[in-house]
Symmetry: C3
Subunit: 294 residues, 3 copies
Amino acid sequence: MRHLDTIENLTTVEIEELIDSASSFKSGRYANYSTKHVALMFFENSTRTRFSFECAINRLGAHPYIFDISKSSNQKGETIKDTINNLCAIGINTFVIRTKEEDLIDKLKQIDFYKPVHFINAGKGKSSHPTQALLDYFTMLEKIKTVKNKKVVIIGDIKHSRVAKSNIALLKKFGANIITTAPEYFKEDINGAFFEPDLKKALDGADVVMALRIQNERLDEAISKEDFIKNYSLNMENFPKNAILMHPGPVNRDVEISSELLDSKIGITILNQAENGVYIRMAVIDKILKGQLK
Amino acid sequence: MRHLDTIENLTTVEIEELIDSASSFKSGRYANYSTKHVALMFFENSTRTRFSFECAINRLGAHPYIFDISKSSNQKGETIKDTINNLCAIGINTFVIRTKEEDLIDKLKQIDFYKPVHFINAGKGKSSHPTQALLDYFTMLEKIKTVKNKKVVIIGDIKHSRVAKSNIALLKKFGANIITTAPEYFKEDINGAFFEPDLKKALDGADVVMALRIQNERLDEAISKEDFIKNYSLNMENFPKNAILMHPGPVNRDVEISSELLDSKIGITILNQAENGVYIRMAVIDKILKGQLK
Amino acid sequence: MRHLDTIENLTTVEIEELIDSASSFKSGRYANYSTKHVALMFFENSTRTRFSFECAINRLGAHPYIFDISKSSNQKGETIKDTINNLCAIGINTFVIRTKEEDLIDKLKQIDFYKPVHFINAGKGKSSHPTQALLDYFTMLEKIKTVKNKKVVIIGDIKHSRVAKSNIALLKKFGANIITTAPEYFKEDINGAFFEPDLKKALDGADVVMALRIQNERLDEAISKEDFIKNYSLNMENFPKNAILMHPGPVNRDVEISSELLDSKIGITILNQAENGVYIRMAVIDKILKGQLK
């Protein structure tokens, strides 16, 4: 049984192997898993991550199964253990899961299912989103070769962001100088990152600037949208020269990033991230199906 | 035009051929129906039966089409005859149908469609669920070689259960000694089965014990859940030695079967049923597409 | 960047090439676009057009992606430009779009996306539905060889019908004599067609009779259903000898066309239309992916 649960569980060697594999898929490497069946269990809505995995599965020649939670037997009160046991009996052995529950995948990993199964974390709770961190790292390497001693600034809702947590977990393994910046309400101290409340100071000399998605419903409960934009929005004026701009998407235009900056050449990296995501997900599924991930 | 509507319509030879075919698919037989298109029309929610058919279709190399009733032209008042005529014109010639309506498939079979079409009953009303009975029989044969003169006990909501009806129809063709047991409200006299109200007597010397799913909403209208559990729930104490335990799933844990029994080695047969279901469905679709089923 | 937006944008040579290509797919021509990914973005419900495109994509060996609007990031306030940019980064480069918005595809065509993308209009607003017009023309050619100087009568809700508009745009390119007939409320003067309020006069000597779908909710606001049926419904009595009967479907039985006429041999052409639709859509996608459509 092999899974991708968190970045923390991966060694630097495993991460490098995944990046190399993604890179070779991007260069046209071919695979044919036509006897493999992969379920997409998204307990939270998602367009981009779901389509990215679905596309990765199709490119690998495998079969995707869209598990529509609202129509499933879970409505009939079935436990998720019984659901997965049934699906693995049917022949689906890989489960891509997005969930609000922090400990769901951990619990599932402990269970001795009817047949060996693989779990891939496609975003859980506020703590981790490993394929996003991997695709972000892949994109950084394409642009700046290495993150060692490079200044990576992460901006916005650090507290609720699984993207921030997984990126920090990965970047600190590779020796990056990680700075977080956020309004007080969105602040969280994370091991390996240094907090700087002032955006201007944080951005000074940055190599990578990663804006996080702000959930609109959180903005007005904690800080006014106007205040956030005034103090933490990226634009043509405050964006550091020669840095690369990243965002997990979807961007709230003119909130995290001005439309002008987003639509400039600088904004293109955000689409490179999306493009690279498919190759990372192909690499993860490929490695899991080969039994190479612990 | 060839269909799978009910067990009653199949000869024992046809059933044996389907079991042999399923068995060879389980052993790795390959098929490639890449020019075939199969619609899944589920007018009732179902996770397991739908995914089982979807997986069977993919393994056969054919293309599944998920017909989402709530978004279809049926909402625009189109008759199902016109819908199917249109879909068969498009190139979908096999229809897997789950419906509450007892006579829908019968009616459809009478219609002269634009092109030849096949109907597969994936569960209709309270009367029949032939692929379930076939996969149950396949599983019994794997475990006990033959059902002839074997004691098969079916427990629970006999009255509303299409699983019970199709199993009895099949098992009596092959000479099983069939016993049903249920509270008065769930009782129904079915030709070929003997009713025994007392669970203990029913279970005595059983070779196969099949619990049926109880719909929770039915329990409290007819009999209290506590009374049902007290008198008809299977557990480590009352389960007969050497018998095999079956259930169509999903199980209401601690209602039809205690969690302890379900999670013991004895419970594994229920997952064997699910596993065998895919191969039975492959065999049914294969036989239908070859025009071998009447 | 190449699209199929409107019939008006196609030359007669391009239309003839599409018909020839559809015809060769109908005769068994094979294609394998297994590295191509096509999104179906249906902002309005549709069974037949959606399944027709999905089936065409599968037959071409490509991968369909069903974009469920209600679950997408559009709910999170993402613009459609950003959504499509993201999807084309992922590797989906062809977008089949059905929408109420008249100018959506026009706007999308102006945008410089991250990667080259193709748009296929699967029905927009009240103005155009080019694949329907192409499949209708394909069907007419099969039946009556040419439309030049042939009388084509279009009946019903001309005003709100994109089917009517695209058919007229196409038929006038090929020299048909086009007559529209409708109650006053559904009338619209369209360049290239002659309006005749009296059904009997309109039908006199017709070669092709095309009834349009009436949306029930429109009937009682504008004209009583009884009046419409009395004056504009087609039946065994008023249907012109030797004409062919067409309808885009789904038919409101006994409103636009009597059940008796629909279920007679004359009604079969409506299913020929549906059958031909798949081949037309294969031809359109094939031509677009080859970069042959402007």
